[in-house]
Every structure is written in structure tokens, then in C-alpha cells.
């Protein structure tokens, strides 16, 4: 990859910056970092589509400080070496894997310091490689929560990764998704300069606020998948930890009733989190609980989580929820739905490989943001799609019948928007099957874009190739001009956002 520099010189130079223990260029290390989240088969070397021209990074580096990042970026500019920033490496669009051959993989998980809690701005400052679990743990010591608590069940994802991928997730319903809670960012630009956004642009300011001092520059780096710079520090709002919680499960007569009721509850800010289910494996459990005829009902279950700082307020919220549910003729599950094994407030949820194992195949998720009221329409498209005999034939490789795919909307955002998630699973043990799955996955992603969904997965693969086709030339040119201006040597995560390839 690095034409003017030998591999040993590259490694020596990086070791000079971060120390030998923080650099690894062994084959096995490089291939480990060639893959991010595997559920979507977007991995060099593992699907036919991607196999031939793609490869692992040249080297993995673990900076600890902003100065380290600055030095690495300046060095990379000198030799025009691509840099791929990586947080938890759990993003589904392979934004943090080296889909172009080679480059420096910047593993940011050692930039994980909790810097401080500032009671004046009620915000916390930390290095961007801190994981959600660690951040929540540190804040708990102050009796606080970041509100939004990271993507579902993924305690290992980094806060910086979430900023860069516009993450939705736990308690987004109440507090808004991650980026709605960001106050300031510290960014190392692709040419190695460091900027502070928001209130900190004024060097005399020591409190945290997102806006003022000119344009909202933090927004430029949100959802940018590292194409415009590396986020090294960030500030998030904090909230007192609510003391009182409750969970409910309602079954609505139709998906439309379910979505209308949830939208209404959300408009009064009654819920902290929820999980709407349309079709799939959890649905089978609900059918069991309510003694419904398997596969015959079209009812919409919804798990709802409420929380409050005061018992009476919680009671009032729950009463209002009950009133709205009754208006939409919902049936209430008599017991504690968390005993069903899944809750809306899923800080206990662990969405690991066990889910793939349960299905007997690799899961291919297609998550994007939709208004709740658009979900029934999106679901209808899926129902039709999965009725196609050709698709059914493909999926039947797992012999799991209608358990092979599911649709759900686990809250995730505020103001009537939701993370709409459909997924199917397929045997992934041969390259041929993975390639088929990859194509099928892209077929769904393409159609979701046609139906106007807003993807937050915009790394190098997934929705990106389909999305860019829908941009106006003016929008697309604007993005490209931004990239060229900020990153003249095109070193910053080439391929992310479809830019700089």
C-alpha cells in the first residue's frame, strides 16, 4: 500500500509515536481487524463479491492521546497512507474495516479516559474511545446517566463510533439518540490540526454547550464515519438516574393501531423506551403467551418501559399509557414482561452471537430510521418480499420456516421516529451461501432506500451504494467538495460515505 515506505519503516515510525506495545502488523492481527461486525458478511475475504481486490490493513496502532493521533495523521499525510479510525468495530457497514487494501488501522479503544463531570453544564467530558458500559459505570458514581445508553445490547461499542455512525439505541425514546446529547467535539482534522467545536471554540470558555460561536461544526462530524476527521474527545449531557421503573406488554389489534398508540404515547413523553414487534422470533413467544394461533394473527405487540424520578409521576405516566392503550383496544399482558426474556428497557439484553445460534444462521440486519407511522407500510413491503418463492427457497437453507426473518422497531430515537429493523438469517458456513446472503441483503437495503428510509449505517458498504444514487448532484458535489477541502490527500477512511475512493 505504502509505495514510498517499506513495511518495517512504517512500523518503526508508528512505534516511534506510540511505543512498540501499541503497534502490531502480524498477519493474524491485520486479518482480525479486516472484519468489523460479521452479521452482515461485509468482510474482505469472506464473500465472493469482495474477495479479490480487498484486504486487511497494513498495521494496527493504538494511540492513547490526542497528540498521538495528531502525529499519526501528520505522518500518514506525508506518505499519503490511508487511516481507518475504529471504535468498538461493531458498526454494521464496515466503516471500521479496511475495505480498501492496506492503511493504518487506528484502534481508538485505548483513548478511553473519563476526563471529568462538570456540574455547571451538567455534562461529562471523555476520550472518544470510551465504551458505553465504561461511561455509564463512571457516571453512576455521580448518580447520573448519559440518558441514551448506546446501541442495543452492545456494551463494547465506543461512544466515538456511535457519534460517527449516528447511533440510535437504548433510551433514545426519552433522551434522544446519541448525537442529540452531544455538546462538544474535539476533532483531529485529516491534515492534523485539532479543533474544538461549540462553546469550547472560545478558548476562554470552560463549560460545555453545543451551539453558538458560529455554525454547528459538531454536526459536520456526526454520522461522517470518520471521513472528515478523527473525534478524539467529546462532551455529552448527563441526567440524574431515574429511581422508579416499570414495564408493560400490550397487544394491539393491528400494526397500525400499535404504531398510532406508540406515537401518541411518545408525543406526551410517557415512554423511556419501547420495542414494537411485527414479525419474527419474539412474536412466536408472544403468540404462545396469549394462546394465539401461530402464524395467523396480525396483531402488534409492544413492550413499553417507563421511568420517573418520583413514584407518583410514574403512576400518572402509567395511567396515561393505559388510557391510550385502551383507546386503541390493546390487551395487557398480566405479568412482568421482563420475565419473557426481553424488555423494552434492554440494559440487560445481550444481543450477541447467541441470536445467530438460536436461528442457526448468520443474521443480516437492515436497520434504518423511520417515522413510527411509516412502519406498517415498510412492513407490508417486507411481507410481500419474503413471500416470493425464490426468496423463500434461499432462506429455507436453514429449515426454520417463518422464523427466518423478523421485523421489530426497538425505539431508539425521539419524537415519533424509530429504529426500524428487519433481519433474516442464512447459513453462512460456505462462501457460496455468504455471497447469496450478501446479495439478498443488498436487495432489501436497496428497496428500503426506494421506500425513503433514512439509514444511519453509512460506512463503506450496506446502504451507502444505494443511497448515493438518490442524492441530488448538488448534494453529492457538496459532500465531495467538503471531503476534498478537508482531506486533500484523501487519507481519511477512503470509501466511507462513498467518498474518496
Amino acid at each position: 500500500m505504502t509505495k514510498s515506505l517499506s513495511q518495517s519503516d512504517l512500523v518503526a515510525a508508528l512505534e516511534g509515536i506510540v511505543g512498540a506495545k501499541a503497534v502490531d502488523d502480524s498477519d493474524h492481527a491485520r486479518w482480525t481487524y479486516a472484519l468489523s461486525e460479521a452479521w452482515s458478511t461485509v468482510s474482505p475475504g469472506l464473500t465472493e463479491e469482495l474477495y479479490l481486490d480487498l484486504g486487511p490493513p497494513d498495521v494496527i496502532v493504538k494511540p492513547k492521546t490526542t497528540d498521538h493521533v495528531v502525529d499519526i495523521v501528520k505522518f500518514a499525510n506525508k506518505y499519503k497512507i490511508p487511516i481507518i479510525p475504529r471504535g468498538g468495530g461493531t458498526g454494521n457497514a464496515s466503516g471500521s474495516a479496511a475495505l480498501t487494501s492496506g492503511g493504518i488501522m487506528l484502534d481508538l479503544l485505548d483513548m478511553n479516559a473519563f476526563i471529568k463531570y462538570d456540574p455547571v453544564s451538567r455534562a461529562c467530558r471523555f476520550q472518544a474511545g470510551i465504551t458505553w458500559g465504561r461511561l455509564c459505570y463512571e457516571l453512576k458514581k455521580f448518580g447520573l446517566t448519559p440518558g441514551f445508553m448506546g446501541p442495543h445490547g452492545i456494551y463494547g461499542a465506543a461512544v466515538g463510533g456511535g457519534i460517527s455512525i449516528d447511533s440510535t439505541g437504548i433510551q433514545g425514546t426519552k433522551y434522544g439518540q446519541e448525537n442529540e446529547n452531544i455538546q462538544n467535539l474535539q476533532v483531529v482534522l485529516p491534515t492534523g490540526e485539532v479543533i474544538e467545536t461549540g462553546s469550547l471554540a472560545n478558548t476562554k470558555t470552560d463549560w460545555y454547550f453545543r451551539y453558538c460561536n458560529g455554525p454547528d461544526l459538531a454536526g459536520l462530524f456526526m454520522g461522517a464515519c470518520g471521513a472528515f476527521g478523527i473525534i478524539t474527545e467529546a462532551t455529552l449531557r448527563t441526567y440524574p438516574l431515574p429511581e422508579y421503573h416499570s414495564d408493560f406488554l400490550y397487544l394491539f389489534p393491528s400494526e397500525m393501531d400499535q404504531c398510532k398508540a406508540l406515537t401518541e404515547m411518545d408525543s406526551y413523553e410517557l415512554m423511556s423506551d419501547y420495542m414494537g414487534l411485527a414479525q419474527g422470533f419474539q412474536y412466536a413467544i408472544i403468540e404462545n403467551v396469549f394462546n394465539l394461533e401461530p402464524g395467523k394473527t396480525q396483531k402488534g405487540p409492544a413492550l413499553i418501559h417507563t421511568s420517573a424520578y418520583d413514584e407518583v409521576i410514574l403512576e400518572r405516566k402509567n395511567m396515561m399509557i393505559e388510557k391510550i392503550a385502551t383507546k386503541y383496544k390493546a390487551i395487557k399482558f398480566p405479568g412482568d414482561p421482563t420475565n419473557l426474556g426481553f424488555g423494552a428497557h434492554d440494559t440487560n439484553e445481550m444481543l450477541g452471537g447467541g441470536v445467530c445460534k438460536f436461528f442457526g444462521g448468520m443474521l443480516h440486519k437492515t436497520c434504518s430510521v423511520l417515522p413510527l407511522m411509516k412502519c406498517p407500510e415498510m412492513n407490508q413491503w417486507h411481507y410481500q418480499f419474503f413471500k416470493n418463492p425464490k426468496i423463500l427457497e434461499l432462506l429455507s437453507t436453514t429449515e426454520l420456516g417463518n422464523k427466518c426473518w423478523s421485523i421489530q422497531y426497538p425505539g431508539g430515537c425521539k419524537h415519533g421516529f424509530v429504529l426500524h429493523m428487519s433481519m433474516f438469517n442464512m447459513d453462512a458456513t460456505t462462501r457460496d451461501l455468504r455471497t447469496k446472503a450478501y446479495k439478498l441483503w443488498h436487495e432489501i437495503l436497496k428497496q428500503k432506500i426506494e421506500l425513503g428510509t433514512s439509514p444511519y449505517w453509512v460506512g463503506k458498504d450496506a446502504f451507502m451504494p444505494h443511497l448515493t444514487k438518490k442524492f441530488t448532484p448538488q448534494y453529492w458535489n457538496f459532500l465531495k467538495t467538503l471531503k476534498k477541502t478537508l482531506d486533500p490527500n484523501n487519507i481519511m477512511n477512503p470509501g466511507a460515505l462513498g467518498l474518496g475512493i
Binding site: 501499541a22 502490531d24 502480524s26 498477519d27 493474524h28 492481527a29 486479518w31 482480525t32 481487524y33 472484519l35 461486525e37 460479521a38 452479521w39 468482510s43 475475504g45 469472506l46 494496527i60 493504538k62 468498538g88 468495530g89 461493531t90 484502534d107 479503544l109 485505548d110 465504551t131 458500559g133 465504561r134 455509564c136 459505570y137 453512576k140 445508553m149 445490547g153 452492545i154 456494551y155 463494547g156 422470533f281 419474539q282 413467544i285 419473557l340 426474556g341 426481553f342 434492554d346 440494559t347 440487560n348 439484553e349 445481550m350 444481543l351 450477541g352 452471537g353 447467541g354 441470536v355 445467530c356 445460534k357 438460536f358 442457526g360 448468520m362 443474521l363 453462512a428 458456513t429 462462501r431
Partner: protein, 410 residues
């Protein structure tokens, strides 16, 4: 080529969703159903993804695809560096839907080690341990004389035949002789006589299994089980967590039938303690270290804690305990201790400091390997604590302190 055993776990490998929870999840005080503060001790020190199960499963995918090949560097750097502490498998049990099962990371790592063994890629020091175990003149991992094994039992006149047999294991018999002696004294005080194989006892083969010499382990296990059967024992009791788990789970996984009941002494001692009068209460603030092979591997968390409470001690848990406990760093069968001493030293230092932070002045565990490793860590870090293997503690409160060995505290 060369991924024969791993091929059997192809599905498992592909089920790993690379979700990253097995890397360094922190959930203590955040989730109510699990309380992790970090997961993989090796990652905690070395900080690269390839040291985690997530990373190793990724490497396994590339091995299965023949993008990567097994080689010495991969074996030494990654495959043998894992402690086998099972934390990564424990956390990979999602609570989303009842019936979900974790990725069997321990079977995957063992399969990779077996492939390495078959290809001659095992680190030399571990190979030597295996040779010692299978050497008929030694039968122990330390390369010591076979005849020294029963030295601890010399004055005890233990029978060779009884309904119950005590399996002392190599670590206790050779390195921590006051532990087996304590076991026997306690049982005798309760009126129970147990058989002991003496010099006919073989190593359980724990290290063979964790080094990948499965054929060697199988032969060794079959011979050992034959010898135990000849004693007529219907039950075998263990004070070593590693030996206990080898009999309880590993042999089963290898398809070897174990025709007797197996029991860890934490279960044996509890009714004894209820029956016998304590000579004195153990009125101290103590903490308990869960050995990985007794806890996560064999599922025994409560027994030792009940014993500790029963003797009147005040138990203060470390920040990471039970299912979310932190390995002492020795690694399965001491593989890390033997092959990666610096890594082991760093991990054990972190654990002993965690023990110190409880404010307890006594550390109790139920595995001779953990005991030795943590005691060494205390020494290195100048941590002032007393150390007890569970049998020694029970013996002390029953007034059975040994005269033969000068220190019950190891």
C-alpha cells in the same frame, strides 16, 4: 489443510456475531442481570482484538477459508495465550430470548489447540509439561519423581479401597501438601474414611486437554478411570477445581464415560460443618476468589461461600465475583503461568489489588493453582494478606491444624 478439528466447530465459529461483548463489557450497576467490569483478562493487559474470543473467532473464519494458515507465530501469540477462563463464553449468553445459548468459545479454542498439537506448533514449555504427564516415571506436569506423590499421606495410612475416593491432584500433592492432609483430617473427624490411590494416582490430564494433546489425554484418562474403578469407589471427591472440572466436564466432552459420582469438597464439607462443633469461629474479614474451573466451568459458586459464612467469617466480595469473576492469570492448568510469565504476573497483580481493595485481610480460594498464583502476586505487590485453600480454613476452625507443616497459610 490443517484445520481438521476446527472444521467440526465451523457452525459455532460462524455464529459469532463479532458483537464485542466478550472484549471488555462493563455493566456493573447498570444492568441488573449481570455485573461485568471487564471480561477478557488477556485483552485487559494486551489491548488488541486478536486476544479476545471475538478476534480469535475472526481468525478461525479466515483459517477455515484458508485465507490464513496456522503457524508458529499465530499459535504462540494468540492460540496459546488464552487463559481458558471462560469469561467470554459466560458473557455470550444473551438474555433476550429464553433458550439462547452462547458461542462455545472454549471448544473452539481447544479445537484450535488440537490442530496446533497435530501440526507440531505447540510452545516448547507446554510440550514438556505434556511429556512429563505421560512419562510413566513421573505422571505429573512438574517432571518430579512419581514416588514423591504420596509423600503427604505417608503417616495417614489411607486405604486403597473404599466407597469414596479422594483425588488429591498434582498441584496439591506436590506443591501444597497441607491441603490434602487437611481434607483427610476433616473427613476423619466426621467419621468418613476415604481411599487414596497414592503413587498410582495419575495426573487428571487437564494440561494435556488444554494443550491440545487430546489423544494423550484420552489414553491417560482411560487408564486413570480404570485405576479408580478398581478401588470400588462409587464417588470421587476433589479439592482441586481443575481436576474436578476435568472429570466433571472435559472427559464427557471427549466422549469418555465416568462411571462414578464426582463431587467438589465445597459440597462435601457443608454437611460436616453443620454437624461438627467449631473449635473457634473465624472472626475475620475475608474475600473469596472464584477459581474459573470451579465457578464458570463447573457452575459451583454457592458452596464455598456457604462454608465461609458458616464458620463465622465476614465475607466481602471483590468488585468482580461469581460468574463475572476475574481469572487469577494462571490459565487452564497453569498454561499462562508456564508460557507467558509476564502476562500472568500482570493479571495476578490486578486481581490481588482487587482483593486488597475489599479491605479483607484473608483471601480464600478453592484451587491450589489460584492459591499459589495469588500468594505470589501478594508477595510481588507487597500486599499483606493471609491465604487459605478451603480445606485449610475448615481444618483450622475444627482445631485440626497440622503439626507437620509449619504454615497453614501457605
Amino acid at each position: 489443510m490443517g484445520v481438521m478439528k476446527l472444521e467440526e466447530f465451523k457452525n459455532e465459529v460462524w455464529f459469532c456475531g463479532c458483537c464485542s461483548m466478550c472484549r471488555e463489557t462493563v455493566s456493573k450497576g447498570i444492568a441488573d442481570k449481570h455485573a461485568w467490569v471487564g471480561v477478557c483478562p488477556v485483552y485487559d493487559v494486551l489491548r488488541f482484538d486478536h486476544y479476545t474470543s471475538r478476534g480469535r473467532n475472526t481468525i478461525a473464519k479466515y483459517l477455515l477459508e484458508e485465507v490464513l494458515e496456522y503457524n508458529q507465530a499465530l499459535a504462540e501469540d494468540v492460540i496459546f495465550r488464552c487463559l481458558g477462563c471462560k469469561a467470554c463464553e459466560q458473557i455470550c449468553t444473551p438474555t433476550l430470548v429464553p433458550g439462547l445459548k452462547p458461542i462455545e468459545n472454549m471448544k473452539i479454542i481447544k479445537a484450535m489447540r488440537e490442530d496446533c498439537w497435530n501440526m507440531g506448533l505447540v510452545p516448547q514449555k507446554l510440550k514438556e509439561v505434556c511429556m512429563n504427564i505421560l512419562d510413566p516415571e513421573k505422571n505429573n506436569p512438574y517432571g518430579l519423581d512419581k514416588e514423591l506423590r504420596e509423600e503427604w499421606a505417608e503417616d495417614l495410612n489411607l486405604p486403597k479401597q473404599a466407597d469414596t475416593l479422594y483425588f488429591a491432584g498434582c498441584a496439591a500433592a506436590y506443591q501444597n501438601q497441607n491441603t490434602p492432609e487437611a481434607v483427610i483430617k476433616i473427613l476423619r473427624k466426621a467419621g468418613q474414611e476415604v481411599a487414596y490411590l497414592g503413587n498410582d494416582e495419575l495426573c487428571c490430564g487437564h494440561q494435556l486437554i488444554w494443550t491440545g494433546d487430546i489423544e494423550g489425554a484420552r489414553k491417560n484418562a482411560e487408564e486413570l478411570i480404570k485405576r479408580i474403578k478398581e478401588t470400588g469407589a462409587k464417588k470421587v471427591i476433589f479439592s482441586c477445581a481443575g481436576c474436578y472440572n476435568t472429570f466433571k466436564n472435559d472427559y464427557k466432552d471427549m466422549g469418555i464415560s465416568v462411571p462414578f459420582k464426582v463431587e467438589h469438597i465445597s459440597k462435601t464439607f457443608l454437611p460436616i460443618l453443620k454437624k461438627l462443633e467449631l473449635k473457634e469461629q473465624f472472626k475475620k474479614k475475608v474475600t473469596y476468589h472464584d477459581p474459573c474451573h470451579l465457578g464458570r466451568h463447573a457452575g459451583e459458586y454457592k458452596g464455598p461461600r456457604k462454608i465461609i459464612r458458616r464458620i463465622g467469617a465476614e465475607l466481602v466480595e471483590m468488585e468482580r465475583s461469581g460468574k463475572e469473576s476475574w481469572c487469577c492469570g494462571a490459565g487452564s492448568g497453569g498454561t499462562c503461568l508456564i508460557n507467558y510469565p509476564d502476562l500472568n504476573q500482570e493479571i495476578r497483580s490486578r486481581r490481588i489489588k482487587e482483593a486488597q481493595a475489599t479491605g479483607a485481610n484473608v483471601l480464600i480460594t478453592a484451587c491450589p493453582m489460584c492459591l499459589k498464583n495469588l500468594r505470589d502476586a501478594a508477595h510481588e505487590n507487597k500486599v499483606e494478606m493471609d491465604f487459605y485453600d478451603l480445606p485449610n480454613l475448615v481444618a483450622e476452625v475444627l482445631g485440626l491444624k497440622s503439626e507437620q507443616y509449619d504454615s497453614w497459610k501457605g
